[in-house]
């Protein structure tokens, strides 16, 4: 099976069309299962009461925000090196979903911090790095949007993503260093409540659900990007199917 056949937007478009519903269904099913575990199976935490249940979306979203940035930088690098348009389209399709995941991680993090530590925003190493990651996403999307010619926009944003992905570990290390220097890490989200197996299971199921969601969202957005960019090529004309 020649995988390269799918590297051209024309052959990838219908394939993605068939895959998207599969990922949506998987995402919903796994989310329902995860929420069921999170709310009905996992016991109440003796320290934090029921507020800790926010962990079932906070941690998956945080994982996904980091994972999507890496995958995005990977596609961007591929597009830059191999000059394949589809990989660059995939990178710009992933960016908004990644930024959304980062925002969700920040939002749920502060909603979890309020009842547990009494403040809406905690300058904790992970939350602060999450905030900086959001800036990186916004930088990627802003640069891509401000260049008119799509091909140049892809390449410029790809270079930014590569420089960004090299900086992410450095940023995380420096923020952790800064955090221990100033607070001695008295307040930190990293020490989540003792992870009973059901809690861990719930979180993993939710993480996979978020993953399916991100794939479906990115594939759907990449189809729109293909339509917008390939407007002039002949194969668009024969698109009969309504979807």
């Amino acid at each position: 099976m020649n995988w390269f056949k799918f590297s051209s937007p024309q052959t990838f478009y219908p394939l993605a069309g068939r895959l998207i519903p599969v990922f949506w269904v998987l995402a919903v099913v796994l989310a329902v299962a995860g929420l069921y575990i999170g709310f009905f199976v996992a016991p109440t935490d003796f320290q934090q009461g029921d507020a800790y249940r926010i962990i079932f979306i906070h941690v998956p979203a945080a994982w996904m925000s980091m994972f999507i940035y890496l995958v995005m930088a990977g596609w961007a690098a591929l597009g830059l090196v191999l000059n394949t348009r589809l990989s660059s389209m995939m990178a710009s399709a992933l960016a908004p979903t990644g930024a959304l995941m980062t925002f969700i991680a920040l939002w749920t993090g502060s909603f979890w911090g309020r009842p547990t530590w009494g403040t809406w925003w905690v300058w904790d190493a992970r939350l602060t790095s999450e905030l900086i990651l959001l800036f990186l996403y916004i930088g990627f999307m802003a640069l891509h949007a401000s260049i008119d010619e799509p091909r140049r926009a892809d390449k410029a944003a790809a270079i930014l993503a590569i420089v960004g992905v090299v900086n992410v570990p450095i940023i995380y290390f420096s923020v952790k260093w800064w955090n221990t220097l100033h607070q001695g890490a008295s307040v930190s989200l990293t020490r989540a409540p003792s992870m009973a197996t059901t809690m861990l299971l719930g979180m993993l199921v939710m993480a996979i659900a978020f993953w399916m969601y991100s794939i479906a969202a990115a594939l759907s957005r990449v189809r729109s990007i293909i339509l917008e960019r390939e407007r002039n090529s002949a194969w668009i004309g024969q698109l009969q199917e309504s979807r």
């Binding site: 000059n83 010619e149 407007r231 002039n232």
Partner: protein, 209 residues
């Protein structure tokens, strides 16, 4: 020396030219003609390797631009649409700078002769800012007198804004350069006295789709 096979160039959704095949031997001039926006400058930038073509291949001395990039950079002399002159620097300083970064011969005598050849000796210590458009173009052209050993010249509208005397001296230079077995690719709108036997004309708008 310079081979162009089935070259195509698009600007956004519009095809500038397609299916361009040219083969230039030693001692030939390629005269590119075409209306404004027909892709003359784009073609020249593609030949220099500055921008990638939509399709097609370019070979210099038998090797593609990707493999033979170093040889091309050592052999090429590109005069763009823009003069590449810094307004705050004098004519002499600009020329000296270009000679350094392009690794052209730089001793005082040659630089002096180049400025002499474009008739700017009296203004060589003035900042380029105060020069007229024609004088600036001549200041930019001075590099060519330093680059007589470069086998490939790519000149984008070199005769623009030049008076008749400068046009003649430039076309003589191009003629002598080509007689030494080098290759010159240039674009211009004016009828310029070039060595007819060695000149090939190419109309770009005939190739657009």
């Amino acid at each position: 020396m310079l081979e162009v096979r089935d070259l195509a160039c698009w600007r956004g959704d519009q095809c500038l030219f397609d299916g361009l095949d040219v083969r230039l031997g030693a001692g030939e001039v390629l005269w590119i003609e075409g209306a404004n926006g027909s892709g003359k400058t784009s073609l020249m930038r593609i030949l220099c390797g500055l921008s990638p073509p939509e399709r097609g291949e370019i070979r210099w001395k038998g090797r593609t631009l990707r493999e033979g990039r170093d040889t091309l950079l050592h052999d090429l002399m590109y005069l763009g649409h823009l003069n590449a002159l810094k307004d705050d620097l004098t004519v002499a300083e600009n020329l000296d700078f270009h000679a350094s970064i392009l690794e052209l011969p730089r001793d005082g005598r040659l630089v002096g002769e180049a400025i002499e050849a474009v008739g700017l000796t009296s203004r060589q210590d003035l900042p380029v800012r105060v020069l007229s458009q024609g004088q600036r173009r001549r200041a930019a052209l001075a590099r060519l007198w330093l680059a007589t050993d470069r086998p490939l010249w790519i000149l984008d509208e070199p005769f623009a804004a030049l008076d008749t005397a400068s046009v003649d001296s430039l076309s003589d230079l191009v003629a002598s350069h080509v007689e030494r077995g080098h290759v010159v690719v240039l674009s211009t709108h004016q009828e310029v006295p070039l060595p007819v036997s060695r000149t090939r004309r190419l109309r770009l708008d005939a190739l657009s789709r």
